[in-house]
Amino acid sequence: MKALRSYARLIYWDWVREAKRLDTILSMLLFAMITLMIFSFAIDPMSETGVRVRAGMIWLTFLLSGAIGIDRAFRGDGAESVLQGILLAPVSRVTLYYAKVTSTFLFVVVMEAITLFVFCLLYDVEFESAAALGRMIVIILLGTIGFVSVGVTLSAMTRTIKGGEVLLRILLFPLMIPVFAAAVDATKFALAGDELTMKQLVLVGAFDLVYLAAGQILFEVILSDYDAS
């Protein structure tokens, strides 16, 4: 119960911190918009290539700009002394991990929601039914959990390295490929108005579970000896 309260507290303060200048969400969002723009020059989105390219486009945009949000989880102005304060507070590392995952997840989801909306407007994507949209939302949420759960651990790892922003992406993106492949596949189905297959959900779900469990343990390992982290 106490852990739940500190969990909620940490998320609340992360939001307050973000609300000061919205810099994480805004930079993710702007970057996503720019990516969508650049895509239109790289490939003709209205051509016959169809939904497959669109599903890939949207997930690539999520991946590239979501990485910014994950990067900001432990980096930025004064982030290190804030982290020190949290580590000294009576909050367990596991709670801290889940709080960080949740707040980063929320930031990324806000970005994804707006990006998806803009994407649908710009590229004339229409969902056939509410169920199709629902399936799309399910797959986006599941995919983002996987993305963020491993991302937060890696972000805690690369936070003190000079040039760690790039390293984070180098480490994160290859790990993301399974969830990316499954999510693109599922998004294709959702955009075409088909039911999701078991395989897609199983793979993304398994990825989420494995990385939430592993991330929780390994996050503790990373921060248990602060000086060495």
Binding site: W13, I86, L87, L88, A89, P90, Y226
Partner: protein, 231 residues
């Protein structure tokens, strides 16, 4: 004889092939204020961080307020307040917001009146709405002291609290230590100012090369001994 509030048995911390601390055996009674002296790299800050559970000991056993450090680190953190060189709140928060954040994070009740008196005491009342990144070094140190004052931790761990402070500020630190001792709390004070440290403490401990080389009750006459051990 009361039970010791901090029990350290054979504590050691290794960095690779070098020991930052080794074979530390100490027991500190509640209400005692202890001054820790030592050169840079002698292990005193490492010692404080071990007590505050920021670091994990390589060897040895530590109990703080009867709680095993390795197993109940969360409960230990609730009883210990560590002062480092920067306040722990986000730089864009104003001082008041920062304190609100701090007390919430450390599960302290928020009380407008007492917070006012804390700010009054550290001399930052008029700057309470300014964002923290506009604070100078000394002001930031005062803000850290406000954090310490806003908690009622049993054990204070002060890592070089005098740095960057004017004489008023130093007197403020002294009064904080005195009040804490008067209320029955324990203080560990790391400082390079031997005179001040000796005056402010009941017991002096000198670290050298990761070991305790002197452990005596404080008195003004001890100064020569401390300086000699420090070399």
């Amino acid at each position: 004889m009361t039970a010791a509030v901090i029990e350290v048995h054979d504590l050691g911390k290794r960095y690779g092939e070098r020991d930052a601390l080794r074979g530390i055996d100490l027991s500190i009674e509640p209400g005692c204020s202890v001054a820790l002296f030592g050169h840079n790299g002698s292990g005193k800050t490492t010692f404080l961080k071990l007590l505050a559970t920021l670091l994990k000991p390589t060897t040895g056993r530590v109990t703080v307020a009867g709680l095993d450090l390795a197993r109940r680190s969360c409960a230990v953190r609730a009883r210990v307040s560590l002062l480092l060189d920067r306040p722990f709140f986000p730089p864009r928060f104003s001082l008041e917001e920062g304190l609100r954040y701090f007390t919430d994070l450390y599960e302290q009740p928020w009380d407008e009146q007492s917070m006012k008196s804390v700010l009054e005491r550290v001399g930052l009342r008029r700057r309470r709405l300014d964002p923290l990144n506009t604070f100078s070094r000394g002001m930031a140190q005062r803000a850290s002291l406000a954090c310490v004052l806003s908690r009622d931790a049993e054990i204070l761990l002060l890592d070089e609290p005098y740095t960057g402070l004017d004489p008023d500020g130093c007197a403020l630190v002294d009064s904080i230590v005195d009040d804490h001792s008067a209320a029955g709390g324990t203080t560990l004070l790391v400082t390079h100012e031997v005179d001040r440290g000796l005056r402010r403490s009941d017991r002096s401990i000198v670290f050298r090369g990761g070991r305790v080389v002197l452990d005596e009750p404080s008195s003004p006459e001890l100064k020569d001994a401390v300086l000699e051990v420090l070399g």
